[in-house]
């Protein structure tokens, strides 16, 4: 039995918020609460897009970062390039890939030969990892957090964790950070190898939902 209140039955208009919904609600009430971002619905890792790489593209783009997210989470599964390639990332602003030397990276690789550090403070791309192999079974998989991508007042930062088999071949892991040193609202991301094409793999982009 709906009434003239925005949420719930007649009587006192109880304040509603995520995690604090009180009353009995009909579907119309719930629709209003969802619209106003006040309905408790757990599961704050929200899938925005999954892209399965086929057809050997030179790059793969994610052109929808959703709205309202301060932190995004990206997974990479069974990513294949040609032999001894780096996996790179560039951001997009207004749909345009940004190629200025505004990217920083710093990550550590651990492998069966000891590992190494990989860093650059001013490059025209963000290298996520390097030296990926492509013999049978060789690929990379991992995850990446992206911070402040939709905030015009802050730089965009990244943290990554990956495992891969290098071209040597060494079983390897890497972790580290990255930055895009421009305060801007991003519209998307572009992934591409250091040369040749992206052979295969799956990239999923999630937004981490928050409530004020």
């Amino acid at each position: 039995m709906a009434d003239d209140l925005n949420y719930g039955y007649k009587g006192a208009d109880v304040p509603q918020s995520f995690g604090n919904n009180k009353g009995v609600f009909d579907p119309s009430d719930i629709n209003n609460l969802v619209k106003d971002d006040k309905w408790t619905n757990y599961g704050q890792l929200e899938l925005i897009e999954t892209k399965v790489i086929t057809g050997d593209p030179s790059s793969v783009s994610l052109d929808d970062l959703g709205t309202g997210y301060n932190v995004h989470f990206i997974t990479f599964t069974n990513m294949h390039t040609d032999d001894n390639r780096d996996q790179n990332l560039r951001v997009k602003v207004g749909g345009v890939t940004q190629t200025s030397s505004s990217y920083g990276r710093a990550f550590r690789v651990s492998n069966s030969a000891g590992g190494y550090d990989d860093k650059d403070a001013t490059l025209d791309r963000l290298r996520i990892l390097a030296e990926v192999g492509n013999a049978t079974g060789e690929c990379w998989t991992g995850s990446l957090y992206m911070y402040n991508a939709l905030d015009s007042s802050k730089y965009t930062f990244f943290t990554t964790n990956n495992v891969f088999i290098s071209f040597h071949p060494y079983f390897s892991s890497s972790f580290g950070s990255g930055s895009y040193n421009v305060s801007n609202v991003l519209s998307g991301l572009e992934f591409y190898p250091s040369s040749s094409v992206q052979r295969s793999g799956t990239i999923s982009l999630y937004g981490i939902k928050e409530y004020s």
Binding site: F18, G19, N41, Y42, G43, Q44, L45, N70, V71, G104, R105, A106, F107, R108, D117, K119, D120, A121, Y145, M146, Y147, N148, D151, S153, K154, Y155, T156, F157, F158, T159, N161, F175, G176, S177, G178, S179, N181, S183, I208, K209, E210, Y211, S212
Partner: protein
Amino acid sequence: MATNLEFINSFEVTGTVQSLDCDNIFSDKYDVYYLTVALKESSAGNDQWIRMRLIDNTGTVITASEYDYAQLAMPANTGFYDTNRATGQNVILYGGIGYSDDTGNGGSLYVYNPNDSSSYTFLQAQAGSTVGNVLFGTKGISVHKSAETIRGINFHTTTFWGSGTVNVYGVK
């Protein structure tokens, strides 16, 4: 049944502050918590580490010398170093959650077993921030070496934050 991350609370910097209490966030509902940390200094050039302390079950920030930590610092323009480590400290100075600068920062923090009165509380963080416009990556671990119930976490700095948000999620 809900899965993955479950939002618990959001804490926002209002005004110009040196400290942000995230209280009443840990409970018996989860064993593991995920926090996103984005704090921005109020003016340029201060570049201070984000410090952490835990809050006990009475709401008191723990200042006893019960923290150990270790951090790998990864500046993008010079060699990495792992000398940011210590035992028996009264604050987690180098916990891996990074610097705050006026360009903002971005970090992820996992907290393990805070509500378990029979276990230490363990933390793991990874972040990106800038110092002098150069990327400064960090990855760190820390522990509160007292088996007690923890209900919150305090972030603080020796300079000032002008904006920023900490969001807290339970890992289901």
